[in-house]
Amino acid sequence: MLNDATLLLDPPPSPVPMARAMRRGTTGKRAGPAQVTTARETENTDWVACIAAIRDQGDEAAFARLFAHFAPRVKAFLMRSGADATLAEECTQEVMSTLWQKAHLFDPTRASAATWIFTIARNRKIDALRKQRRPEPEDLPWGQDPEPDQADVLALQQESDQLGRAIAALPAKQRELIEKAYFGDLSHSEIAADTGLPLGTIKSRIRLALDRLRHAMK
């Protein structure tokens, strides 16, 4: 009883799943029951295949494709965060070589390639620009599933794509605030309590993937 009362007073935060609602609202078209596969979704799963090819075969052509798409974006991100062109170029090369070296740590049931590359670039930024260490959460003790369920991979990649479109559809003022938080130096007290981001569904997917990984090892 006591536990129930505590839960009611202070429930674990779980944002409302809004991605689908927002998508319908902004496109104005009625989405059918079948999943609509967009070019971006196909692109997301292609990047996943590229990283697997790097991990399994040391595939340089796959790496060159990822590099052509992501390296100029990583460099832009670092320059917007305050790095000059020389430092940004050097850090970009380091970020992209980390991608090669850590390809075995990429888990496509929990992140898109863009998300994973963002986290590597962010950590490099903190290290190079702010001269600080970046404490990361403890690795899951069993690492990644080498052969994840393809349906789980596809679902997460689709969620990532939907999130990208939902962010693009946000009112300009709100999108600018989020850009400022990620590219600029907005402090946590300057970030709105309600970010208005539709993160409920992708969070649930990632949570499910974590549960599966933990259960698989029991």
Binding site: T6, A71, V74, E159, I167, F183, A193, L199
Partner: protein
């Protein structure tokens, strides 16, 4: 530590700033330690990372150096493959905290603060302070308020204050509005990781005199 008993979580603003990489190091450490214990916040943090992914994917591009790809391949060939497997947690501290302490609980260099309370300040950038606190079972940390933000993560035992009870894995996010007197529960000594971005304000005279020496 049981994973599903955590009832006090991080705020969206802190998780977003952690994902964006704009928190002071002491806060990053406390957030990373909580995420190591709490799958729910780990998933929420990953959702904020995917916002970062979407931003980088949708961002403008900047021209690379002419030999950029070749130079990157040369870096890759020059480096050793990294195939480290994470070691399972043996003691009380999750990996990020163990890194900063230089070991587990037995490696902590405690300093007495008075009334049986002990602390150990961890090496982070000066923008905020991270400290381990040891509060003997039943003892209280003096009544204090905050000028900035204080994060308190319970690693062992439990404490209660005017807000609620905080057990292992729970994190309390306190700001200017909160004056509180955390009291460790009877039964077990309480060990917390606390991060502050401004000095605490003690309401009783004694701790305020001691404050400059203790760096609380």
């Amino acid at each position: 530590m049981t994973r599903n008993q955590i009832t006090h979580h991080l705020t969206d603003a802190l998780l977003m700033a952690y994902s964006a990489g704009t928190l002071p190091e002491a806060f990053n450490l406390t957030v990373a330690t909580h995420l190591s214990l709490c799958d729910d916040c780990r998933a929420r943090a990953a959702a904020f990372d995917s916002v970062g992914g979407a931003m980088i994917d949708g961002a403008d591009t900047v021209e690379l150096a002419q030999d950029s790809l070749a130079a990157t391949m040369a870096r890759i060939r020059a480096s050793k493959p990294q195939h480290e497997t994470p070691a399972p947690r043996a003691g009380l501290f999750p990996a990020p905290l163990r890194d900063y302490v230089g070991g587990d609980l037995d490696a902590v260099r405690w300093r007495p603060v008075g009334m049986g309370v002990k602390q150990a300040i961890l090496p982070t950038s000066r923008a905020a302070t991270a400290r381990l606190l040891f509060i003997p079972a039943g003892a209280a940390v003096p009544d204090h308020g905050h000028r900035g933000t204080e994060l308190t993560l319970v690693l062992q035992g439990a404490f209660c204050d005017e807000v609620a009870r905080f057990g292992p894995g729970d994190i309390e996010v306190a700001n200017e509005e909160l004056n509180h007197t955390p009291v460790a529960e009877i039964g077990a000594d309480c060990i917390c990781l606390a991060a502050t971005d401004a000095p605490l304000r003690f309401r009783a005279l004694m701790p305020r005199i001691a404050q400059p020496f203790l760096r609380i």
